[in-house]
């Protein structure tokens, strides 16, 4: 089986005979489509877990849930270094988020804190393939995307603690992680808000190459968002424009099946999100989001397509969050058997097993990584805790790139030139 055995590519869509579209779809290995047709896993079975509404709660497509024993048919392509990098990044995401929960309940963090536990394979599988210049646009569940993109754990933790040393100087918080240096451009708390911004980032990449003649510019943008977002207007508007202008972007749906307490199946008339790509001329791919190697395999091709200038790809990763929507969510509507099912498919233990059985690393080597990461997270907490809070003067900083935007004061000078302004005591 190829690395793509777990994905589905829309085969003979009613409009797929359009030669243009067929050409686009063909950039995924043809074997994979063939595999899917003869594979028993490709049968569109719905799982047996029935919700109160009588519809299937999980397992939107069978091939992502029935292949539990086998992880990553990508064995032939992944190297030891790559596998360990994925493992380290996923373990960092998990360890960091577990620490966040503890710190939240100790009152070190505030407001809404949304944790990523369970979904690590998606962030890791995509972001570890990006270059430093490539962009990532995230949602309010953004800590782990930031970590995968290379933002230091110290900076993310300090931001969560509301400290001046945070990646946004304590001004953004849990839902608004930004790092220009790492090309992490949000951190958006509103559903669907990040998709147009990401599309704009991809637009700028193409513009720089084609209009500003920066010929080496082939930067790719990856936009992460959830299943709930896919019923939102911005999603469809941007699928259209991204395809229309062939923008270098990958739309990654982290379908964790629930939008707070709203089951994806109760909210969505056509729950197979990947199918919404082809009507716009965008390949749609469905991948097991609990299997990092499968995500990684799909991501490789989708990112390469974007970099080659072949346009956007829509990837639906079926995943699951192991915790409530936020740390304040009582999480009463998800059934225990559903949670148990997914927790048994923990992407980190699965990768661990794979790495060991394929002799990519020994158990003790992995333990060394785990120990190192736990220390990184401990260190991040210590750093954040001992960092100073933002000074009072910072309240009025960064509202404008040019603080003259605060206007002119009664003395005829710009208000920002008032000494009281920088001391945070000015009336503005």
């Amino acid at each position: 089986m190829s690395a793509f055995s777990a994905i589905k590519i829309l085969p003979t869509h009613s409009v797929a005979s359009h030669h243009h579209r067929r050409r686009r779809l063909s950039s995924f290995p043809s074997t994979c489509a063939a595999d899917l047709f003869c594979s028993p896993l490709a049968k569109p079975i719905f799982s047996s877990f029935a919700s109160a509404s009588g519809r299937s709660v999980r397992g939107i497509s069978a091939n992502v849930v029935s292949d539990e024993k086998q992880l990553g048919s990508a064995s032939s392509v992944i190297t030891r270094e790559e596998a360990l990098d994925l493992y380290e990044d996923m373990f960092l995401g998990r360890s960091f988020e577990d620490m966040c929960a503890q710190m939240y309940y100790r009152g070190k963090m505030f407001g809404f804190v949304h944790l990523y536990n369970g979904q690590e394979a998606v962030s890791t599988g995509f972001i570890r393939l990006l270059t430093a210049r490539d962009s990532v646009v995230s949602t309010y569940r953004d800590h782990v995307h930031a970590l995968s993109k290379g933002v230091p754990a110290r900076a993310v933790m300090a931001e969560l603690f509301g400290k001046a040393t945070g990646c946004c100087r304590g001004q953004g918080g849990s839902m608004h992680m930004f790092s220009r240096e790492h090309n992490l451009i949000g951190g958006f708390a509103f559903i669907g808000e990040g998709i147009p911004v990401a599309t704009g980032a991809a637009f700028s990449s193409k513009y720089r190459r084609e209009v500003l003649k920066e010929e080496t510019c082939n930067d790719v943008t990856v936009a992460f968002f959830g299943d709930g977002t896919c019923n939102n207007g911005q999603f469809f508007e941007c699928l259209n424009m991204a395809a229309l202008w062939k923008l270098p972007i990958v739309f990654v749906v982290e379908n964790n099946l629930w939008a707070i307490g709203m089951s994806h199946l109760r909210a969505t008339s056509e729950p197979e999100i990947w199918k919404k790509g082809p009507p716009f001329g965008i390949p749609g791919v469905h991948v097991d989001g609990m299997d990092v190697l499968k995500v990684w395999g799909v991501a490789k091709e989708a990112i390469a397509r974007a970099r080659r200038g072949e346009g956007p790809t829509l990837v639906e990763c079926e995943t699951y969050r192991f915790r409530g929507h936020s740390l304040a969510d009582p999480d009463e509507l998800r059934k225990p058997d559903e949670k148990a099912h997914y927790s048994s498919r923990d992407p980190i233990s699965a990768l661990k097993k794979y790495v060991i059985t394929h002799n990519l690393a020994t158990k003790s080597e992995l333990q060394t990584i785990e120990k190192k990461i736990n220390e990184v997270v401990e260190d991040a907490v210590e750093f954040a805790d001992s960092s100073p809070p933002p000074p009072r003067s910072q309240l009025l900083e960064n509202v404008f790139a040019d603080p003259k935007g605060f206007g002119i004061g009664p003395d005829g000078k710009y208000r920002c030139e008032d000494p009281g302004f920088t001391q945070g005591t000015a009336q503005v």
């Binding site: 809404f112 509301g162 509507l333």
Partner: protein
């Protein structure tokens, strides 16, 4: 968010209509004790670690159990704003089948802030309708339904999300009666928490009072107490025009005394009438929503310094009760306005204009305007505190208006 209340037991539904007080008491008692038991039971089944998911108030189980006496004393005299809103929607849905509730997580989740608790069980999914996350879409659908005489109550999980739907609110709802020459009225209520909560940073802390109040065709209400919440929400649902109903997350759990009149199902407050919460003679302080509580606290402090402050709870931002404000200023000759929103073009600016236009010659001091800082809400708690009005800011402003000496003011 998410206070995680349980539903009523099957077969124990309270009949629609007026909520008899005793039954409410029993319901609350039952749900509180069962909730704590059930939650602990559920934590055990949870796939995640159990202890850390417990909220601080749950960790110490003994503290969480409330004695019967405590509950009955609390409920007999008081009602939370959350229950006031819940009962108002409940009663209006019972009284008029055209009323329905629509929004994200209003049904099975019982409301993101549990305001719609129990309504799904009572009225079913056709009338308590969970929507996908599509503000522009479901707001427009609500408006269209209102064109045809239904009375939708559209909940925004927070008013911040109403920005996604502002075209439908302003262009489709507010202007339709006018554009159609009076043929199409839009009896719809848009409601949800507005303004700053705690620690939720720039995108979740915006106050929309001034935005919506600047638009003709809308009525904009903002309750403070449980009485306000009940009386004004019922008035809003019965009103034939689009009403923006701005609640406050922090106030949901706050209890206020309520009289038997307020609990009557016919209770309703007039739209456009402010309420004098505390009479005084030296300075008028206007406020709405959470800031009324702050103003009352400030008045308490001021009284110790011999300053008698008159506190006006605006209740209605549009129409604005110009008469009550002007009458008060003509009596006290001084005005302090308080709001959580941004200062420029804010509610305080409008009130100031109203007083300058009608009572200029009565003013003995410049108008003092207290507002949120002119910055997006910062996340760090020390900066956040600086960015929203505090009781001491109100005290200082009132003293300045009364020409008392005051220490250096804090930022904005």
């Amino acid at each position: 968010m998410g206070c995680g209340a349980s539903r009523l037991e099957p077969g124990e539904d309270i009949p629609p209509g007026l909520l008899p007080f005793r039954r409410r008491l029993q319901e609350l008692k039952r749900s509180r004790t069962e909730e704590s038991r059930r939650r602990r039971r559920e934590r055990k089944d949870s796939i995640v670690s159990t202890t850390e998911l417990l909220r601080p108030e749950e960790r110490d189980a003994d503290d969480f159990e409330t004695t019967e006496e405590e509950i009955s004393r609390a409920v007999a005299e008081k009602m939370t704003v959350r229950d006031a809103l819940n009962s108002a929607i409940d009663e209006e849905m019972a009284a008029d089948p055209k009323v329905f509730l629509m929004g994200e997580e209003v049904g099975e989740y019982q409301g993101a802030y549990k305001v719609s608790r129990g309504l799904l069980d009572k009225y079913g999914p056709e009338r308590v309708r969970d929507t996908p996350i599509t503000e522009a879409g479901f707001t427009g659908i609500g408006v269209g339904a209102a064109y045809y005489g239904l009375k939708p109550v559209v909940e925004f999980m927070t008013f911040n999300f109403s920005m996604q739907a502002i075209d439908q609110i302003i262009n489709s709802a507010a202007k339709s009666n006018y554009m159609s020459g009076g043929q199409i009225s839009v009896p719809i209520v848009f409601r949800g928490p507005n303004g700053a909560a705690a620690g939720v940073a720039a995108q979740h802390s915006h106050c929309y009072a001034a935005w919506y109040a600047s638009c003709p065709g809308l009525k904009v209400l903002s309750p403070y107490s449980s009485e306000d919440a009940r009386g004004m929400l019922k008035a809003a649902i019965r009103d034939p025009d689009p009403v923006i109903f701005l609640e406050n997350e922090i106030l949901y759990g706050e209890s206020f005394p309520v009289s038997a009149d307020v609990l009557d199902s016919n209770f309703c407050l007039p739209i456009g009438k402010a309420m004098i919460e505390r009479e005084g003679k030296h300075v008028t302080i206007t406020a709405f929503s959470k800031m009324v509580g702050y103003a009352l606290k400030a008045a308490e402090i001021l009284s110790k310094d011999g300053i008698s402050a008159e506190i006006i709870n605006l209740r209605s931002i549009r129409p604005l009760d110009r008469d009550t404000i002007n009458a008060s200023v003509r009596k006290t000759n001084r005005l302090v306005t308080v709001e959580e929103g941004f200062p420029q073009h804010g509610v305080g600016a409008e009130i100031c204009a109203v007083v300058v236009e009608e009572s200029f010659e009565y003013l003995d001091a410049p108008v003092e305007r207290i507002a949120g800082a002119d910055v997006p809400m910062p996340y760090a708690p020390n900066l956040e505190r600086l960015a929203v009005p505090q009781v001491e800011d109100i005290v200082r402003a009132a003293k300045r208006a009364c020409y008392r000496s005051v220490p250096m003011a804090a930022a904005a």
